[in-house]
């Protein structure tokens, strides 16, 4: 595997994208409104697709171009737009993405997890000076922050997007070492995510409908 050096142009851009992705993960964690939460996730995916494009140029990889385009189209645009349209409008979700802990508590936990990610990955890294050495702690932190979002968010759709943030973190780690996964595997992972989102949306809308029917039934019983 040819490792990019951290001082090359592509290396700096990847590092920068990694930092932005981490910041957007924090933004997701902290956003109180459901709309914002979805927008931040979309922005994170756009940055990720930019990072994939950078890696594609640096490694001369046509496959990474395809993945970058797919990331932009599906994760950057389609999922956020669909999440807002279908789930917020049609299922009439509350705009408030309910959290089970206070905002400050979850942010402090997020900071602690980021520090933990650096602590765990630092000694285990590639030789110093490679871009992977800089990006892997970032991607680990994004994975942990996504998992934290899943834990603190009460609503199912918010949990789903938390899982997608975890996936973004893994993908960020994967593109810094381009040869780790062959294209067929990357494409398979992508397909899994799309299928996963579809099946989860089916469950969520089924659950929401059931709950609506249940409350309607309660209303009918209280007559007279």
């Amino acid at each position: 595997v040819e490792s990019l050096s951290a001082t090359s142009v592509a290396g700096v851009l990847l590092d920068l994208s990694g930092v932005l992705i981490l910041l957007l993960a924090f933004a997701c964690l902290a956003s109180k409104l459901f709309n914002r939460y979805v927008v931040y996730y979309g922005a994170q995916s756009v940055v990720l697709s930019f990072a994939a494009g950078t890696a594609a140029v640096a490694f001369h990889s046509a496959e990474l171009w395809i993945l970058a385009a797919l990331t932009l189209a599906v994760k950057g645009i389609a999922i956020p737009v669909a999440a807002r349209r279908v789930l917020v409008t049609r299922l009439a979700l509350k705009r408030d993405a309910a959290m089970s802990t206070g905002l400050s508590t979850s942010l402090i936990a997020g900071g602690a997890l980021t520090a933990f990610a650096y602590l765990v990955t630092r000694p285990a890294l590639l030789p110093h000076g490679t871009v992977a050495a800089a990006v892997v702690p970032l991607s680990t932190a994004v994975i942990l922050l996504g998992a934290l979002s899943m834990v603190v968010r009460r609503h199912t759709v918010a949990q789903l997007i938390g899982w997608l943030i975890v996936e973004n973190g893994v993908f960020l780690g994967a593109i810094t070492l381009v040869a780790t996964f062959p294209f067929i595997v990357e494409a398979g992972i992508f397909l899994d995510i799309v299928a996963g989102v579809l099946i989860m949306v089916v469950f969520v809308s089924g659950l929401t409908r059931q709950l609506a029917e249940a409350s309607a039934a309660e209303l009918r019983e209280l007559r007279g």
Binding site: A179, V185, D192, A195, F203
Partner: protein, 491 residues
């Protein structure tokens, strides 16, 4: 040989094809069973052909079957066959009573076939990335089975299952990434470099620190699929809400596939790090699972939940056996996996018959099973004894092997603790099942259309119990060689 391997993975799709073509439950179920029988036959043939020879390797390691893979293929294909036969009468009865619509029946068999096919394919690949892709896809296919009945409870269980398992498997993917990072000295450029036999052969060149992290993440991640505590929380809900033959597939096949992935990582970790660190990780998760499983069995209620918590306990026992290690520990672990798969398949399939006849899943509302439904009652009784590890069934033998492995590996504290916990788990499980088996037998209307459907219900129970009994009395020479070759593969 390559053709044989492909045939194994594709043959369960017969049920999906029949369902998509519009077949009713009986026909689709029969097609499913025929496909599963073909898969089992082919995997037995493959196991005989492999017999310690060089593994089957094709397409840059994307296809890679050795004795260990062959052993798991046989287990999963066997369970699929039992569950497919069980599906015929179970789903047909639900279709006749109108509990499942025709659309739901088609959905059931479509996803059942895809689920089985994906699990078998996952056992056939040597590429760790593709392993993740297939395991995650099998999660999604089985989630559709869990949520099939469409009630609020089953949808909630399916949601919990898919979100927790997806997160878990994604963590395993992160573990896979760290494994590759640890191998950066190897310049893993080619696809072949990403296969586990290559990594095992070059384990000495892996960086120990990131390998440690990789192993921990893999155990946590794939352990979520196995149902190891504290990642087990999806398991009881999913097992309780899925249609019973699908519960049998989850408990007896899917959990084993997760365990297979852990064993692959364990082999690499042991080759580089020695035994101490992997042992500490596995014993911690294993004992935690046994304790959690045993404690939650105390609560009476849904009998499928009881069986599910017993699965958590059993997976804990297998993990502890892997932690004990050595030839004896691995032998016990593999044998326990096969035995548990058979016993749990019988338990869940008989629970399906009970649920259909009594129209409840609450243990407290079931009584007199032995008088009311003698065959199913007897199967439930014998399989309960088997799962609790009493002779003459296979689990007695494998648990004895595991305890012996524990004493052989040093400190007697762990095997003694294991024995105590096994005794602790016995009481609540036996109390609940005895309550179901004895007492007054109510008058029950048969949910099945005719006598042949009753016979089809009984067939997998008798088949599974017969296999369990044989394994308890005598380990066939072929199985013994297959187990020894599998252990040699792990090293």
């Amino acid at each position: 040989m390559t053709g044989l391997a492909i045939l194994i993975a594709l043959s369960p799709l017969t049920g999906s094809a029949a369902a998509l073509a519009g077949a009713r439950a009986r026909l689709a179920g029969a097609a499913q069973a025929a496909g599963a029988a073909a898969a089992l036959g082919c995997s037995l043939a493959l196991l005989v052909i492999l017999d310690g020879h060089a593994p089957l390797l094709a397409w840059d390691g994307f296809l890679d079957v050795d004795s260990l893979g062959g052993f798991f293929l046989m287990t999963v294909a066997g369970v699929t066959l039992l569950a497919s036969i069980g599906s015929i009468s179970y789903v047909a009865a639900q279709e006749d009573s109108g509990e499942l619509s025709r659309f739901q029946v088609r959905l059931y068999f479509t996803f059942f076939g895809i689920f089985a096919s994906l699990m078998l394919a996952a056992l056939e690949t040597g590429n760790l990335g593709l392993l993740f892709v297939l395991v995650e896809a099998s999660t999604l296919a089985s989630a559709a089975l869990v949520g099939l009945e469409g009630r609020a409870r089953s949808l909630e269980a399916a949601w919990k299952y898919v979100i927790i398992s997806s997160l878990g498997v994604t963590i395993a993917l992160a573990g896979t990434l760290f494994l590759f990072y640890s191998g950066s000295a190897l310049h893993l450029g080619s696809n072949l470099g990403l296969t586990w036999p290559y990594l095992l052969a070059h384990a000495t060149a892996l960086a120990p620190q990131s390998l440690r992290l990789a192993f921990l993440l893999a155990v946590v991640g794939y352990g979520t699929k196995v149902g190891l505590a504290p990642m087990h929380t999806w398991l009881p809900d999913a097992h309780a809400e899925a249609p019973s033959p699908a519960s049998a597939m989850l408990s007896a096949a899917l959990l084993n596939v997760g365990m297979y992935a852990i064993i692959r990582f364990l082999a690499i970790a042991q080759a580089r790090l020695g035994g101490t660190y992997p042992r500490a990780v596995l014993l911690s998760f294993g004992f935690a699972s046994i304790v959690v499983g045993a404690l939650f069995m105390v609560r009476r209620g849904n009998f499928k939940r009881l069986f599910a918590y017993s699965s958590v306990e059993q997976m804990g026992i297998i993990t502890v056996a892997l932690g004990f290690g050595g030839t004896l520990g691995l032998y016990g672990a593999l044998l326990q996996m096969l035995n548990h798969a058979l016993a749990k398949a019988v338990l869940f399939l008989s629970s399906g018959d009970v649920a259909l006849r009594y129209k409840t899943r609450e243990a407290g509302q079931v009584s007199g099973l032995l008088t009311a439904v003698p065959v199913t009652g007897a199967a439930l009784l014998l399989a309960s004894f088997a799962v609790l590890g009493s002779p003459p069934f296979g689990l007695f033998l494998s648990e004895l092997t595991i305890v012996r492995a524990g004493f052989a590996h040093g400190s007697p504290v762990f095997p003694l603790l294991l024995l105590a916990l096994l005794g602790l788990a016995f009481v609540p499980f036996a109390r609940t099942t005895t309550g179901m088996l004895t007492g007054n037998a109510p008058q029950l209307a048969s949910p099945y259309r005719d006598r042949s459907a009753v016979a089809v219900t009984a067939a997998p129970l008798i088949l599974g119990l017969a296999a369990l009994l044989v394994l308890g009395l005598w380990i066939p020479a072929g199985l013994d060689t297959a187990l020894r070759h599998s252990i040699a593969v792990i090293g």
